[in-house]
């Protein structure tokens, strides 16, 4: 199983959208993929047409001490995903402390129990909270990921965070992070300039597919669907398809060059 962990340089850069649409785009190129939402905002389900009033999620199941797999859902294209769940503050704090005490549980939970049976072509897309809110129990996930993607925007906040943010620096030291530029606006000069600056300064880390800002994305979410389905000819849909393809080639390449001893 190939694991892609997605986080954002800060809140609101679009990590949730990227994670959900990447999962769907991987399906569109005949790859089996499932998505797990580990971001407490719990918005990934909107891309998978889940009823917003449905509070179910793996965290809630955990609270009720039920197997987390019970919270697995499928959208109408049989794409599996696991929402985070809606908890009260007290419930959430309790679970948080529990997880903090046993940082390995999350990883153990979501890793397939039977190593033999796991399919090599499966993809697991994990959405983490933004970098500043990462917890100790997220670390093992990052360690075990085939690809860690940090979503950034071509704006000054992202650029400064890349340069100065201590959370990012800490993460960057330990993991091989790839940066994905999201919501690029060709109409705005600052967007164009910062895109070039970031691309130039972080050449090795940047993922070559550039995600454009496209109104089709928020529209699709508002309609509880993915942009690939709602607007297949949009630039956003095209971007996600090429991004999925990039992931496919990149991860497979990494696996192949790693000596298999």
């Amino acid at each position: 199983m190939k694991r892609i962990v997605i986080t954002g340089i800060q809140g609101g850069v679009g990590a949730t959208t990227v994670a959900a649409n990447l999962t769907i785009a991987l399906h569109s190129i005949e790859q089996k993929a499932h998505a797990i939402d580990m971001n407490p905002t719990n918005f990934m389900r909107l891309h998978f047409s889940m009823d917003p009033n449905n509070n179910d999620g793996w965290m809630l199941r955990r609270y009720h001490q039920e197997p987390w797999q019970q919270a697995g859902y499928q959208n109408h294209h049989q794409i599996p995903f696991v929402p985070f769940g809606e908890l009260t503050e007290a419930q959430y704090q309790q679970q948080l402390t529990a997880l903090q005490q046993q940082p390995m549980t999350l990883l153990n939970n979501i890793s397939p129990e039977n190593k033999e049976a796991e399919s090599k072509s499966d993809w697991q897309i994990i959405l983490l909270p933004e970098i500043t809110s990462l917890q100790n129990f997220h670390r093992p996930l990052l360690d075990e990921a085939d690809l860690v993607i940090c979503v950034v925007r071509p704006d000054i906040q992202s650029y400064l965070s890349l340069q100065k943010n201590r959370h990012y620096q800490a993460l960057h030291e330990k993991h091989n992070i790839k940066l994905l530029m999201n919501a690029f606006n060709a109409n705005s000069e600052v967007s164009r300039d910062l895109q070039l600056v970031i691309k130039h300064e972080y050449q090795e880390m940047i993922i070559p597919t550039l995600m454009h800002f496209d109104t089709a994305v928020p529209e699709a979410v508002a309609n509880l669907t993915s942009v690939l389905e709602a607007a297949p000819y949009s630039q956003a849909a095209q971007d996600y398809r090429s991004f999925a393809f990039w992931c496919l080639t990149h991860v497979n390449q990494e696996i192949m060059v790693t000596p298999n001893v």
Binding site: A186, N187, R192, L196, K199, H212, F213, D214, T215, A216, A231, P232, Y233, S234, Q235, A236, A237, Q238
Partner: protein, 872 residues
């Protein structure tokens, strides 16, 4: 006349019949006769026929069986059509049961193909072998040229003796082949053998097979010329002798050009670009010069914008507008965009003087010259400069002149992008062939020259009106080399009217003739013999005017004056002349097929012949006469018109040839019976001349050119950003200075006047251009550029015209020549020419033509038509 049916039928059935009637009416009115005919037919079909015959409702049968008759509104002549079609249906077009083809035929066919494959077996092996050899040769081509042109290679005494002996042997053999007199039977045998061999070699792909074809063609041509000189001149009749010698001289000229052409194009070098190496900081400095005289600022603008984006270190490139028109608007523009502006105090020596003055003001190591309407792509220097660093003796590199607008030939014959244009042969093949012999010459634009050799020859030559070729000739004399890179790295506008086009060619022709006198490449110092031949060919090419006119008049000498200018029996003429023509056109089609289709050269040459005949002759005798004229470009032709002035000489030639036909027919009927062969040969010649002349006349009708901005067809993925924030991925189908048209993934409805943004990519950067939709049809959307500021205009030109790949499809679109297809097209163009003359003629001619055409259409409409019945 239809209602009477209601007396017979129930209302329900009558309604149905009425529907049938409206089917026949097909939305139009139905005449009384029509009603009567159809009502009778419906009654008949209803009462006596099956409801459906072979799957078709029987009431519909006349509609399907008589597509040329409108039953709802029959006209008097329809009766004839009806009868003719009935006869045709009954007698000819019957639906026969599909029979198995006779097996004997198929056996014979199979046998034939087996024999053929056995026969071709050795040939196929030979093909494989030559392909292998050719690959080797291709790899070594450049090195070999270098060695050959530097005279460095040392050969051993032994091998040079062998070479000399071989050469001697070949010469003796060749002289024998050319001169041995044959009887007619022997000549026929000889000709057929050579033809069979040529047909065999023609089947072999690659360049090696071209050479034996050339050898065969040379043999036949030399033999023909020898025969012409020795045994076809009539010394007894002074008039025939004089005319015969004139014709013979014209033919010798053609022979010489043919031989030189073979030599020139025997192995086009097909030079590849060399990548730039080293630190860009060490790359040489270039002065990019854009000379202009009276062109519009708009024309110059695009070139400057594109130059600003050329990939070269910005501190190593200086752009200069060389304004000979001394216009302040140009100076302001140059200041605005930050390029150099050079204006000289005098105006002497036109473009050459303009560049020479600028050379004194600038200092870059290299000088790139672009005519003000040639837009360079960004890759221009990256692709071409590498050769200068590789070869220190290289003085000049030339790239093709590519035109994105149709030239007058293409526009008036409407074959733009269909048949290779006139310039294609030169830039596709001849310059590449010259490159092998190190004699590529400068063509005035889209070229880079090293300053040092340019200064060494005293700048651009000013003595002739073709300063470009003259300059490169001088550099060659000093031992510098030149190169040709057959990559379309820039594009420009073609001349817009035929008269302007002819004017340009007259200038070239005159200039070449001047060089021939002032600085003769054959006798002058410093050139290698190969270079002498190549330059000689370039100059001879422009002397084709008089020989062409001689050919157009030659058959009249016999038909009208009744003198035998070729004093030989008709059969002998056929046996000598025909193979000569067949071999040369077959070989030329093989060599030039991609760049010029057979017979088109005849049309181009014929159009020019009259006009270049005089200036070249004058220039040959008085090389210093005449002035430089600027070629006008970028204009509009608002109304279609026929250029009577230009076509007068051709119409005169047509009339003369028509006279020849009259005489020919007269001689055929009343002449001596032993003359029939000669009359037929000459008649055939006249007919051929007439058709070529027709083509020449057809070009004179100037088609409309109302579009100021020429559209360039492309296929580039781009993005559209709507004002709502949606971005749509789509394909740009064409662009022009005014806007683009795109193909959307599915059809959309946009509001008229709604503004949107087109996002174009240049390298990694995106540029946004505001546009408004002007039309929309299905998935195609036409967009007009809104007002752009200076920077946006620069970006737009750089994202479109200056893209490195915009012109890459050049050449690849043309179909390879098929001589017979090409001949058919030329013949059709010829016929078209005559119809244009008649339709543009004096009123009574026009009226006569119109009525003749109408009459023909009516008669033609009587012809029965083939029908296919499909069961529904």
């Amino acid at each position: 006349m239809f209602k009477w049916l209601s007396l017979l039928f129930q209302p329900r059935i009558f309604m149905q019949l009425k529907q049938q009637l409206s089917f026949y009416a097909n939305g139009g009115a139905v005449s009384q006769t029509g009603r009567l005919c159809l009502s009778i037919w419906f009654l008949f079909a209803f009462l006596l026929l099956k409801p459906a015959i072979s799957g078709i409702p029987s009431w519909k049968l006349p509609y399907l069986l008589f597509p040329n008759v409108n039953f709802a509104r029959p006209r008097p002549l329809d009766l004839i059509r009806f009868i003719a079609q009935t006869l045709w249906l009954i007698l000819f077009q019957q639906n026969r049961a599909p029979k198995k083809p006779i097996s004997l035929l198929s056996i014979a066919f199979r046998l034939f193909s087996t024999i053929k494959s056995i026969f071709y077996l050795p040939l196929n092996l030979l093909i494989k072998w030559t392909q292998w050899l050719e690959k080797k040769a291709e790899n070594m081509a450049y090195e070999t040229t270098l060695k050959m042109n530097q005279k460095k290679h040392k050969t051993s005494f032994f091998s040079s003796v062998i070479n000399a002996l071989l050469m001697l042997f070949i010469i003796i053999l060749a002289v024998l082949c050319f001169t041995v007199p044959f009887s007619l039977e022997a000549q026929a045998f000889f000709v057929i053998i050579l033809w069979v061999m040529a047909m065999m070699f023609r089947r072999m792909p690659g360049r090696f097979a071209t050479m034996p074809m050339i050898i065969l063609s040379v043999t036949i041509s030399c033999r023909y010329l020898w025969w012409r000189v020795t045994s076809t001149l009539n010394y007894d009749d002074p008039l025939a002798l004089i005319l015969g010698v004139i014709l013979l001289m014209a033919e010798s000229y053609s022979w010489l050009v043919l031989m030189l052409g073979y030599f020139q194009n025997i192995w086009p070098l097909k030079r590849k670009p060399v990548a730039m190496t080293g630190d860009p900081k060490d790359w040489p400095a270039i002065d990019l010069m854009i000379p202009t005289y009276n062109e519009d600022l708009d024309v110059v603008r695009a070139t400057v914008y594109a130059s600003l984006g050329v990939d070269w270190p910005s501190d190593k490139i200086n752009i200069y507008i060389l304004d000979d028109g001394k216009r302040d608007s140009f100076r302001d523009f140059a200041e605005e965009v930050g390029v150099g502006y050079i204006r000289r105090p005098k105006n002497n020596h036109a473009k050459a003087g303009n560049i020479n003055y600028a050379l004194e003001q600038t200092s870059g190591e290299y000088v790139a010259i672009f005519d003000c309407d040639h837009i360079p792509t960004r890759a221009f220097f990256q692709m071409s400069m590498g050769w200068f660093l590789k070869d220190p003796k290289l003085a000049m590199i030339q790239t093709p002149h590519h035109f994105f607008s149709p030239d007058p030939f293409e526009r008036n014959l409407s074959n733009f992008r269909d048949v290779p244009n006139e310039g294609n042969l030169f830039y596709g093949l001849i310059q590449d062939g010259n490159d092998l012999w190190d004699s590529t010459f400068f063509c005035g634009s889209c070229a880079i020259i090293r300053r040092e050799p340019l200064v060494a020859v005293g700048g651009i030559a000013v003595e002739t009106v073709t300063e470009d070729a003259h300059t490169s000739l001088r550099m060659h004399r000093l031992g510098y080399r030149s190169a040709y890179l057959r990559k379309p790295l820039s594009a420009g506008l073609a001349t817009e009217t035929l008269s302007a086009h002819i004017g340009q060619r007259i200038r070239w022709a005159r200039g070449m003739a001047q060089i021939f006198r002032i600085d003769n490449p054959i006798t002058g110092k410093g050139l290698k013999w190969q270079q002498r031949l190549c330059y000689a060919n370039a100059m001879l090419h422009f002397l084709s005017g008089i020989p062409r006119i001689i050919y157009l008049l030659a058959p009249l000498a016999f038909l009208v004056l009744h003198t035998y200018i070729i004093y030989a029996p008709a059969l002998a003429i056929i046996l000598y002349a025909l193979p000569n023509m067949i071999h040369s056109s077959m070989t030329n089609s093989r060599i030039q097929g991609q760049y010029r289709h057979s017979f088109w050269g005849e049309v181009y040459e014929t159009v020019l012949s009259w006009y270049i005949a005089r200036p070249t002759t004058v220039a040959l005798f008085f090389p210093n006469k005449g002035t430089f004229n600027v070629t006008a470009k970028g204009g509009l032709i608002e109304k279609e018109y026929f250029d009577w002035g230009l076509s007068t000489p051709y119409i005169a030639l047509v009339l003369l040839n028509l006279l020849g036909i009259c005489f020919g027919v007269y001689r055929l009927v009343y002449g001596a019976s032993e003359e029939v062969g000669s009359v037929l040969v000459n008649l055939f010649w006249v007919l051929y001349n007439l058709l070529i002349l027709g083509g020449a006349v057809a070009v004179a009708e100037e088609a409309k050119q109302v579009r100021k901005n020429h559209r360039i067809e492309v296929d580039i993925p781009i993005r559209l950003a709507l004002k709502s924030g949606h971005i749509i991925r789509c394909t740009m189908k064409d662009f022009s200075f005014g806007g683009v048209s795109v193909e959307l993934p599915k059809s959309v409805n946009l509001k008229y006047g709604e503004q949107l943004d087109v996002i174009l990519q240049r390298g990694e950067q995106s540029y946004v251009f505001p546009m408004t939709p002007i039309y929309s049809q299905d998935k195609i959307l036409g967009l007009n550029l809104m007002d752009l500021d200076e920077q946006q205009q620069i970006d737009y030109v750089q994202c479109t015209f200056a893209r490195a790949d915009t012109w890459a499809q050049w050449q690849s679109e043309y179909q390879v020549d098929k001589p017979l297809v090409s001949m058919y097209r030329v013949l059709r163009i010829g016929a078209e020419g005559y119809s244009r003359i008649l339709f543009n003629g004096p009123p009574f001619v026009r009226m006569l033509t119109r009525s003749a055409v109408t009459l023909w259409r009516v008669i033609y409409s009587l012809k029965p038509q083939k029908i296919t019945l499909k069961s529904e």
